[in-house]
Symmetry: D2
Subunit: 221 residues, 4 copies
């Protein structure tokens, strides 16, 4: 099974609009040359143009559980699907959702053949997310996000504890970890702890040379 | 001064993805043939493809007040701008925002040269919105949204009261009205009450023939 | 093990202030005379006076996950504990919470020796809630709340399915069911489906004679 | 017209439960001895016991706009009124509300003869709040809250600008200022800038001797 790397552009200017397309092209080049599985999550208005420009999987940063209807401003699963998204983050720590909406969003992605990644903040919440049977849960201690301190070093127990908790609830759910990850050694450490991939953001998006940073990231796998 | 008509696609399947482009083309044709000012607010993932396909103004259904940075899943003003949006709805009744976020979103649109439309639910809230100096406030009594009963008939006093309240606070702010509007007579009644345009949704988006419905809408102005 | 009955006063005027105390006294009388376990969840400002007036367990309708500190307006676990609450509802369908806050609130109740009741809307969300190891999960299909149609009749499968899902995840978690329950036969049907108690509201709070309605409720157990 | 001082207990343990009663007694003693107008906003579960213990005005830290009905966990105006509250904060920066809810909460307070204090974060939002005709607006730059740096020193222009903006919109609305205020000189500076009172929190609640701190606070007026 291949390691999964998901690059979150957040609302960084370096990952907005035409810059998102450039980042996606860097991801594609590194994925092709290294034989790794890299996906990108641009901002929602950028999904269409990014998905039109590259062949790697494009994810939404968020979807709402709302279906078709009178839901102005909500992020509707079929809209992101038709824009070219292959999956979506759900419940990122910067875009928390109610449990009912997380469940509805995960179910909507599954019904549309898309990949779901539910973000969580601790082991107990990770177990709860796993009970919803998403494709992935992504454990990210909020205090480490954007810190530059990799979760795999700062709190390895939260990764192994999440892996254990998830496997007990539903062994089909895969675990990603995030927060502070940007280098090859961080990714390797995450995999050694039982994660099957990582969530990244500022370490790559705001790097002087994102492509070089991505090559470093995949250098040890 | 020209009447402003803004068509909100909400998350109706009839206004999603390729259907949003078709609706936008109908709006463009009617606008061109009738010499009216029609804009469309597709879902956020559809802004880029709609704005690439038509020359009429494209609006976002929502933006967040968040700036650049660690704001996963938020709708960042520069992202919608670069996708081609000319403005945005703010605080639609189906996507209510805090006062602080409404203010930040209106300021962000102004700073980016975009048009702001703050939606409100009653006369007092309309006065408050006008104090933020947006381009437009749009009064929509929530109980009439999607009802098929035009606000201009059901509650004309809320339109005239909103116009009066806004003019006292800031005479540069224009008033739209919405909720239940779909026909030429509804638009004419709204203008007679002092509104300078209307917000529309299901009456057009879910019409058997949206273009015909739009021609009817503009037939009396 | 004894059946658990929890009466939610919501914001009904019939359950506000002095009326909440009267309802609590009715609950106490019926509990004592019937040997049943009845608790009451008044509004948060009413917890202190209700807990001062009766000996039955008093629950909060909500707590936030927030700890001590700069959290104006949040419902802090130690404040409701010191006011006399023995437990709290969490994530009621009328007061949905993020997954992170549900987890924090359940943990805060446990750390303070209080009873947690996480409300959920379907079987998948119930399984997720059970993974947080609360004392109770309470399944309430939102469309039946306040309907007068008991969930035990309208959708018995959601009760049995919730019981099964919870027992797989954590057999120590007990299942309540709610929505539309007010009569003795509704409670009996809920128990027959595997629930260990019920959540009630309007059927008792707005009854002409709440005490009589409570006697009917417990008449078949 | 007398200066208005409102002490917000937030969720500090030093202001919870029995500690809230002690703080309220200190406020009462200082108010009586100095002839000043001091009110206290304990946590919502503490309103009843604080209002039962002292004669100074007791405020809620928050109310929701919700009326009577199916609104579990919401803070209903009549419940806080019957618990003894004389008014409420609305939209504190730690408990932001939608514009529609702010308007509904302010109207609910007015309809119940209670005093409304809408908190705001900048001059534009203050103007918007004033358009809702509350009794007070309280300007608190979020970045200064809990900083120990008084707004009257760090950003005097936001106070004078708020006073000017409010007087243009509705001269009956009074302006409070908050954030970082704890000493007599801070209060005097606020009044010199045109404020008619202050919002306080940690500087008093977490002081070694809150009563002494309050005496210092009122020493220059």
């Amino acid at each position: 099974m291949s390691v999964f790397i998901l690059l979150n552009c957040k609302t960084y200017d370096e990952g907005t609009g035409a810059n998102a397309v450039k980042l996606a092209q860097a991801c594609r080049d590194v994925a092709e040359n290294s034989g790794t599985n890299i996906a990108i999550a641009p901002q929602i208005p950028d999904i269409f143009r990014v998905a039109s420009a590259v062949d790697i999987p494009v994810y939404s940063q968020h979807i709402d559980g709302a279906g078709p209807g009178s839901h102005t401003g909500k992020v509707y699963v079929r809209s992101v699907a038709q824009a070219g998204a292959a999956g979506s983050l759900i419940n990122h720590s910067e875009r928390r959702m109610t449990l009912a909406d997380i469940e509805a969003a995960a179910a909507a992605l599954k019904a549309n053949g898309m990949t779901s990644v539910i973000c969580t903040n601790n082991i107990a919440a990770t177990a709860a997310a796993a009970a919803l049977a998403p494709d992935f849960v992504a454990i990210e201690p909020p205090e480490l996000i954007g810190s530059g301190i990799p979760v795999s070093k700062a709190d390895p127990g939260i990764v192994t504890g999440s892996v254990d908790a998830v496997k007990k609830i539903n062994p089909n759910v895969k675990v990603l970890c995030g927060a502070g990850i940007s280098k090859g050694e961080d990714l390797k450490a995450a995999l050694d702890l039982g994660a099957e991939g990582v969530l990244l953001a500022s370490g790559i998006v705001k790097a002087k040379d994102p492509k070089e940073a991505l090559y470093d990231l995949v250098s040890l796998i």
